[in-house]
Amino acid sequence: MSSPAKPVIHSAWITGAREGIPLLGGYIPVAISFGLIAVQSGFSAWEAVLISTVVYAGASQFLFVAMVAAGAPLWLVVVMTLLINARHLVYGPNIAPWLSGSRWWPWLMHGLTDQIFALSHVRLPQLEARHRMGWYIGVAVVAWFSWIGGTAIGAVAGMELTQRWPLVGEVMPFALPALFLVLLAPRFASRHWALTLAATISSALLIALYGFKNAAIPIAAVCGALVYYGLDILVRNRLNSTSEAKNG
């Protein structure tokens, strides 16, 4: 006899998988580049796929392959690849209020990339508690498999693909900024958040333009936090002075 909960769980998986599809545009071209670069750096196609499967962190993987190919000491390779992902430290705690006490959740954090965090941060609060794990697994599996598949394609036929369709790799990653815009758009309704987000986005853009893409994320977030709390203090001071003026 089938449990009545099953279709619900299945539909949560499918919803998650469907909502993960926009990520493919950003993941596959980058994964193809990684597969190609890994093979050119002396790794076999299987090794490239294995790195994508177990590490599953874009910038870390590129750095790992580049440093190993350059002959850097392995302890330094490990330290640098972990440091570059330090921003991930704040992702889990941010979505924790919407996760159940299941022992599976810590293991599922393997799939918590930048983009999955962004999606989860917006979508998990909107979902019923019983649907959250199914939804998360659906979206994370689609993203993970696309990353692994893209790496395999890049390792086997990356050179041919990039020569035949050079513009595809240029156009498809636009799915990521478009997705981030959709996730942030509702917050622009508040003036406080609109100013904070504008400051964060423009500082991240500027830092990235100077070539520090990985440092841009934590630095811009800190700049944004300063703006947020600065505005908070400003509003509080204004309210205090207004009430003082009223009182006499």
Binding site: L89, L99, P106, E170, F174, S203, A216
Partner: protein, 115 residues
């Protein structure tokens, strides 16, 4: 890959997983200790602010086009506009992204085919 490189890969993979999982476990304990009816209230306020800011920072970084020139900036601007307009109408996730990529891609393809 030799055994030392396998070891480095394993440590990197485990380290990355720990960096994603351990802070979650810490926050779970924090929420249990606070035992608040609304777990959001029990979260440190800086953390609730930092979440959207991290997404905004990723957005800012992802706006940098692969080739930096006037055409790419125009395509980015129009792609963003298309995404926003479709989001205003649909309030969905997939269609605005599709519209944005289509608008951005059309401009890049049009200009690259005419030169």
């Amino acid at each position: 890959m030799d055994s030392e490189l396998w070891g480095a890969l394993l440590v990197t993979a485990l380290g990355t997983l720990m960096m994603r999982a351990l802070p979650l476990l810490w926050m779970r304990r924090h929420l249990i200790r606070k035992q608040s009816a609304n777990s959001l209230d029990a979260m440190p306020s800086w953390l609730t602010v930092l979440g959207p800011l991290m997404i905004a920072a990723m957005f800012g970084v992802s706006l940098v086009p692969p080739k930096i020139n006037a055409l790419s900036w125009w395509a980015t601007g129009i792609g963003m506009l298309a995404t926003y307009i479709v989001w205003r109408y649909t309030h969905s996730l997939g269609w605005p992204v599709f519209a944005g990529v289509a608008a951005y891609g059309s401009i890049v393809l049009l200009v690259s085919s005419s030169f």
